[in-house]
Symmetry: C2
Subunit: 129 residues, 2 copies
């Protein structure tokens, strides 16, 4: 069974914050965040997710959805018809996590210009060395 192992994070220090580490594993993934974001707009089918995210491969979309489902962040509802219909939606847990990601997004909007400024400065410096 192809359950690809997640990045194994084992930090001496962070073991004091046992759950931070694991929660980061939850969301520190490009596609997982994309799926969470799209689903925050409501229930979507597999094909819709694929289209809206755009450049995700089937393999990664499926894998991300399985992970999210396993972690209780996303609901998967299968309608036994042909052709098959499968609907994905956020669980309450998923929605609450999305709220936290939103606060990260807020930080971005307020502070990312500072990050870019720092980058420019750093790159300019190291260019002259």
């Amino acid at each position: 069974m192809s359950r690809e192992s997640k990045v194994n994070i084992s930090l001496n220090v962070l073991d004091n914050h046992p759950f931070l580490r694991q929660t980061l594993e939850l969301v520190a993934d490009k596609w997982v965040v994309a799926v969470l974001y799209v689903l925050s707009n409501g229930t979507k089918r597999y094909g819709e997710l694929q289209r809206e995210i755009g450049d995700i491969s089937q393999r990664m979309l499926t894998k991300s959805l399985r992970d999210l489902e396993r972690n209780g962040l996303v609901n998967r509802k299968v309608y036994p018809v042909v052709p098959p219909v499968v609907e994905y939606s956020l669980t309450p847990l998923g929605e609450s996590l999305n709220g936290v990601l939103k606060s990260l997004c807020d930080w971005s909007n307020q502070n990312f210009d500072a990050v870019e400024a720092a980058r420019d400065k750093y790159d300019k410096q190291t260019l002259c060395s």
Copy 2:
């Protein structure tokens, strides 16, 4: 110049949230978060960081510190003595980002048992299939 390219995230949908994507690139990294966390306890030297994180390679520690410095999240202070002394500390920007990570940590402490319960349930189900 060995600037290894970061994961290139280009999402049709997430382009609406231009900075969320980039901020995630900032912190969606195992070691970067570890460094941020250790530095939240105050100024540290290179060797201290290495010891406290424990299982980080020199290569990755250096790389993470360079990235953090470039992004304006960490200060690097070199004392021109022999043997060399280098001190790392959070910038105000880094501290504010740490605050957001803290809220992620809070979410963990409140909700991670639910995640684990979902995992158990999922694994038990799929085991019987």
